[in-house]
Symmetry: C2
Subunit: 121 residues, 2 copies
Amino acid sequence: MLKFQQSDKMIGLIARRFRMLGEPFRLRLLQVLESGEKTVGEIVVALDGNQPNVSKHLQMLYDSGIVSRRREGTSVYYGIADPVIFNLCDLVCRSAAEKAREDFDDLQAVANPAPRVKKAV
Amino acid sequence: MLKFQQSDKMIGLIARRFRMLGEPFRLRLLQVLESGEKTVGEIVVALDGNQPNVSKHLQMLYDSGIVSRRREGTSVYYGIADPVIFNLCDLVCRSAAEKAREDFDDLQAVANPAPRVKKAV
DNA sequence: TGACAATATTACCATATGGCGATATGGTTG
DNA sequence: CAACCATATCGCCATATGGTAATATTGTCA
């Protein structure tokens, strides 16, 4: 924010980044890669996904500059290219947890409405 | 990351948050709200959008706990409920800018391939 | 070069999402 | 209550996106 008052292009780029992280399967992909480089095959096994789907999402993350790619023989190793995403996830995680807690409290409040005195049930 | 190895539900929540930010129009909405509470009408004018669309996106942001809502007469004021989003945007902005710079450098490198000696064009 | 393994690409379907006009709802004022 | 704001919701369409099977590509090795 603040700095991208600028062009619509910049906003588009930012949005794209967020959209990349806005997909559960891709988050799980990144989660798997957090412990280090992995081949497509290894990732497929780890996530119990199907290969074309994994490749597709990896491609998207690669195009966005979030993951790196390295070929070795017939295998391709993917890794985290931009560790900042972990900071992002961390922030969002905390924030989402906070929100969830508030929602829960609100529900509680509805269930036990303002016990002014002792409670009369 | 790290902390949401846990449930798929948590991953879903995180993804949803990111998805909320993964839409140019919503980013612009938040940009407008950064300078303070605004009514729907004011936002419509500021973004030159149409009212139902603005309301819809505001509703989504509200459901996600990103913006707050306050009624005053027939108007409704929206504001930022979770300022963390600005940190997020800031991080992504920097990161995206970095990526853009790298892409540019790569292009340059292709255009002017390794001038070993003087240059032979 | 042929056979095989790993990964990428394509094609297609189902669903999700955004934009927008028409309409409903909620609140104010007379 | 009627008329009139401001906002929310609905219905529809066009497009984007994710999942998956079939197929193409790339690299290795004999």
